[in-house]
């Protein structure tokens, strides 16, 4: 499969992804509802901040942070791990492998294809944040916007590639959903999804800078809410893209080696 024909086929795959998202919109709506964690954390942290601000976060800052976290979570979602797991066990991965294009592209297209539908939820939430809390809820400079979108895309890439890597592990062991559970637990604690990473005890904060999790949610949220100046933002963005490169190497390596072991049970 040459690069050129992949590029030619990808828009079509994307269109398929979009129509799938439109067809199963009720299902997607429930998925969106099940990511209400930021709202719960928002209630919690505004309650904490009612007495005195936490760090530099007042009640309003927490509302802004968690609305942004909701937006970013929606736009960086990936579920390839479960998909790969399921298809390996059912043997239907064989069907995908018959196509003249790597299954990874179609998984990616399915994820990306759902984003236009998600905008219907995400844009009102972001607009509400701006209406309620002012323009500080979105990037205020041109470079801010560019960096935000770059970090959002990288955040999705890290999430997706981690999904691929863990999903591929199901080719080495019977099922990798347990592994995914561990990843998700770490993700919840370390990503800035439950609290801004700044509020983490200082001893751990340095470790968070080097782990991939904060670059999935924390960094895009911080860039959306204008937390960093240009140089700090650039440095963090650099680390994020380093993680993208690393994840790309790991997941593609695992995928290539794993496929050799694939025996299509039941297929």
């Amino acid at each position: 499969m040459s690069v050129r024909s992949t590029l030619r086929a990808f828009p079509t795959l994307l269109r398929v992804g979009v129509s799938e998202a439109v067809a199963y919109r009720a299902e997607m709506f429930i998925w969106v509802l099940s990511t209400t964690m930021p709202f719960i954390m928002m209630a919690l942290w505004t309650a904490v901040a009612r007495a005195a601000p936490v760090g530099r976060y007042s009640g309003d800052d927490f509302i802004r942070y968690f609305l942004a976290a909701f937006v970013v979570r929606q736009m960086t979602g990936a579920w390839a791990a479960w998909q790969i797991n399921y298809e390996v066990r059912q043997g239907t991965l064989a069907m995908r492998l018959l196509r003249p294009i790597s299954p990874l592209w179609s998984y990616a297209a399915e994820n990306l294809g759902s984003f236009p539908m998600r905008l219907f939820v995400v844009v009102p939430v972001a607009a509400f944040s701006v209406y309620k809390l002012g323009w500080g809820s979105v990037p205020q400079t041109l470079w801010g916007w560019v960096f935000f979108f770059l970090s959002l895309f990288a955040g999705w890439l890290i999430t997706f590639l981690a999904n691929v890597a863990i999903g591929t592990m199901s080719l080495f062991m019977e099922s990798s959903t347990k592994l995914m559970d561990v990843w998700i637990a770490l993700f919840f604690v370390c990503s800035g999804y439950l609290y801004p990473v700044e509020l983490f005890p200082p001893a751990f904060r340095a470790a968070l800078d080097w782990l991939p999790f904060r670059y999935q949610i924390g960094l895009p949220v911080e860039l959306m809410t204008n937390t960093h100046d240009f140089h700090k933002a650039l440095a963090l963005l650099g680390r994020q893209w380093l993680w993208v490169a690393l994840m790309l190497t790991i997941s593609l390596g695992l995928w290539k080696r794993g496929l050799k072991r694939f025996a299509a049970y039941g297929g």
């Binding site: 429930i30 998925w31 209630a43 509020l199």
Partner: protein, 264 residues
């Protein structure tokens, strides 16, 4: 009749224990993951209460630990005893194999609710106990006997509530085919029970008290242990959970009544 159901329950429980022990590697991994989950569940609490003497809505660190303890226990019950067998129902509906269950000479709700248990989730009970001990150690008190009794009554209520809510969710599967994400929805909402109920205000407070009574499940038992739950709340919770159970049973019967097997 009643004796027969008890025996049936015993058989089902033994079968799932054997099933769980069959893959020993998995068995141990499951246990480790249970412990890991309990540990990560505590992380947000430590972040919130980093500052000495910090309180949220009148709840101190030690008191919030009690809420988390109840949450951990209930999570164990939910994931170990309630949801494994009931997610099976969804699978049955999709494949059309529910017919086999309906043909058996026992109550269908009983059968589908007792098919599968994950014994390893019992580690959650141990974790909860450790959290209670730690919480009371920090508070420097111990619960009164009356408080313990009241909290045990409330534990019964919470299990009944969780089970009923779950039955309601599963009944929805008869009308909406694809429901595995409804179960995700349920667990993610249940997560809010980790925090003392007064944290939530406005619409959320209403929903979490009356629609999805999370307050009853974790905050009330914690208050009972602390000896500050009013008798009114206790009686209200018992009546409320019985009412919930009644409603869910009616909905289940209605759903079963309208079930047409996948092949017909």
């Amino acid at each position: 009749m009643f004796r027969r159901y008890i025996r049936l329950f015993g058989v089902q429980l033994r079968a799932s224990s054997l099933l769980a022990m069959q893959y020993r590697g998995d068995f141990i991994v499951e246990g480790l993951i249970s412990l890991f989950w309990s540990a990560t569940a505590l992380a947000p609490l430590f972040v919130v209460f980093q500052k000495q003497g910090q309180q949220i809505e009148g709840w101190s660190f030690g008191e919030s630990l009690l809420v988390i303890g109840w949450f951990t226990l209930l999570q164990g019950i939910l994931e170990g005893a309630i949801s494994p067998s009931l997610t099976g129902v969804v699978e049955h509906i999709r494949k059309g194999t529910l017919d086999f269950v309906l043909l058996k000479p026992a109550d269908a709700q009983f059968l589908v609710s007792t098919t599968r248990f994950l014994p390893w989730r019992a580690t959650n009970a141990l974790a909860a106990l450790a959290i209670f001990v730690y919480g009371f150690h920090i508070l420097g008190t111990s619960p009164s006997l009356l408080g313990v009794l009241a909290s045990l009554v409330l534990l019964g209520c919470s299990v009944l509530l969780l089970y009923s809510l779950w039955i309601l969710t599963v009944s929805a599967a008869f009308y909406v085919v694809k429901v595995d994400n409804l179960t995700y929805f349920f667990t993610s909402i249940f997560d809010a029970a980790r925090w003392p109920a007064p944290v939530f205000r406005g619409v959320l407070a209403f929903v979490f008290t009356f629609v999805i009574p999370l307050a009853v499940m974790t905050t009330f038992p914690a208050e009972a242990l602390l000896g500050r739950l009013s008798l009114m709340s206790l009686v209200g919770s018992v009546l409320g959970s019985v009412f919930f159970a009644f409603v869910s049973r009616r909905v289940w019967l209605h759903a079963i009544g309208h079930y047409t097997s996948a092949s017909s």
